[in-house]
Amino acid sequence: MPATIEEVTTVPIGKVRVGHAGKLVVSGACDCTLQRLMAMGLLPGAEVKVIRVAPLGDPIVLQTRGFQVSLRKAEAQGLAIELSA
């Protein structure tokens, strides 16, 4: 049985296309945005999916366990998603 290696790419959250999901990865320092998100229940390592982008390009909406949250790309620079191919 051939072993399949899953391709894992880490993409900054602002560049993830709608519909793609993966684990949340924190690549920068913990800033207020992340603090807020964690208080809301979105923890590093959690499964998260980008479900929407605003018509003007920003903000985006993430779906995660139990809720949906909107954030600005510029404020989410310390966040990335480890996409599962």
Binding site: D31, C32, M38, I51, A54, L56
Partner: protein
Amino acid sequence: MTQLATQTGTSPTTHAPQIALVGNPNTGKSALFNRLTGSRQRVGNYPGLTIEKKVGALRLDEQGNNANVVDLPGLYSLAAISPDEWVVLEVLLGHVPGTLRPDLVVCVLDATNLRRNLFLATQVAEVGLPMVLALNMWDEAEEKKLRVDVEALSARLGVPVVPTVASKGRGVDELKAAITDALARKPKMQCIAWPKPVDDAVHTLHKALDGQTSRNIDVTEAQRLLFDTESSLADELGIAVGERMKHVETAREAIRHGGYDPAHVETAVRYPWIDNLLAGLTEPPGEPKRARSESIDDLLTHRVFGLVIFMAVMYVIFQSIYTLAGPFMDGIENVFGWIGDHVGVWFENSPILHSLIVDGVIAGVGGVLVFLPQIVILFFFISLLEDVGYMPRAAFLMDRLFGWCGLSGKSFVPMLSSFACAIPGIMSARTLAEPKARLTTILVCPLMSCSARLPVYVLLIGAFIEPVYGATVAGITLFAMHFVGLAIAIPVAFIMNRLVLRGRRTPFVLEMPPYRVPTMRDVTWRVYGRAKEFVIRAGTIIFALSILIWAMSYFPRPAEVEVTATARVVGEVAADRGVTEVAATKAIFGDEEAAKALESHVAAAPDTLAAVKEAVRDGRALEAFGSGSLAAHVEQVVEAAYLEQSIMGRLGQAVQPVFAPAGFDWKITVGVLSSFPAREVIISTLGIVYSLGADVDEEDAGLREAMESSTWADGTPVFNPTVAIAIMVFFALCSQCAATLAVIAKETNWKWAVFSFVYMTVLAWVGAVAVYQVGTAFFA
């Protein structure tokens, strides 16, 4: 933190029990608050803060024992990022002046999102107050088949847990019973056992900081300073940055040493604890089917349709305020006019009292209530959209447009509403949780061209633009004037945000709650609440200012003025018709008897003009006689004369040099000054000033003519297209609405109301002068 807060002083038992309501946003906490307190609610302010303090009375039993309930702002965590968020923790600790420390905390949880909601609950537990948990939205949990073992949860936590459906009123009685019981038994929620390195670090930090500030610090506060990467609590506590950072960093080092990341330790410890707590108590939902909300969102936040629908919704709201409110506002004005006429009869004998009651008091009250239709309509829509859950989507769609100047998408509704009327617009800015964005929005809203400016535009464009440039240009000018304010608002917002309002940027992290069917009861409740607040809080100021302005326009009122003015008109009529003054008087006042009486005076005195004065002073000439047009004309001339020498009139003449660079003469200046309380007053003021009486409207041909033929002392016309535009620009930008200032003062404080007045008036002056100077330079 196995220990409770160090505050041992709970409130003395001689007062009514204090209950605090905490919870995440969108949990129906407000609906629950309404159910618990009913009509016994009040809104106030925390000293020095912009967020509102909502308190109410909960009836505990039939004997009249009540508990005071305070509805604290919804938060996901006690971590205070934005400057106002620390108030929740501080209220719970009893550190906020004017708010007693609660005896009991009711934590409202969303039963469909228990895990996340318990995060805040565990933080609150550590404050050490007795608690009761309300699992709200229980009906939705049942619908989603999220079975929650309430008894087991209660047993594990050690506090009562009550399922409720606030929107339908279910479970409220059980909650009240649990509250009454808890006030007696004081059950405390099970706290998290923190890993030793963390616990030690918190206590070390607490000891290090204690005594460094004006008052003792609580352990929970030390904890917050340690866990939160950016905290406005520190600023609040007044610890010098250097000192604080030193101790905090030391404590954080200690945590790192113990193997934990200080930035993540809180979530890394609380969530597993919560998961452990909930193990076996709930049946997690299976793989969620595509939620109804998501399908709706596909449409409502669609690239194209989302925006279209959004515009449609905004259009409906705007039109309703602009158009629908009209008939009601007219109705209110008519009612008060009717009341004025009828009540006025009682005071006929005392002109001062008559004017005070009719023009001051009744008009003042009417002037407050006339705003109610707009407020009610706007808040009806806003409450509806909020309860449905659309507002976060609207903010999401608009954020890009607003974010760059320091506002957020949430500012859209307040600013749009202000195009109809800034008052409900500013009141609706309360939904903006970030104080900086909120303040900027409030300061910028009055620049939106409200409906009261329209009569001014119509008058000036109709008199001075259309005759010269035609209807098309007139139409374009009208349209353009509406955008002057908006165009200026953008740089103003940018500057305010950068320079004037220092403060932490709050991140735009907005939850998109599931769509819910709104309850009419809650919507009506909120609308009623806002209307009541406006009338009581802002209404008093508006009323007081109306009386003041009335007094300034009325006094002084020496009888001499009336006599002289009447005599002047008589003289003019006599000269005009080539008759004697006596005959003129007859013509004006039309009564044979009166004319005869006058004749006897005239016979006795050779100087006929003096004789007429004598007769008028006698008091018989004016009141008793007919209301022919000449008599009315005399009245209007008299009114104009009174205004000219009143405080307001003299102020106008004194201030006129300030407005000279903008091309305003003293009459325009008086008009401008008298419209500071309310813009549309300029129309009637100009009517009085030009001796046409106060009843003119903006389309009155007589007024237009009077203005067109108005000249300076040297004969040059006062009005031309440039002056007209200068006046319109002034009105577009100036703060001329006492009601708006009153509302700004109530929503923020007096300093900002004054600031708003000053900056807008200066801006308006600069604009008007610029327009006039540039216009005359290029087009003279």
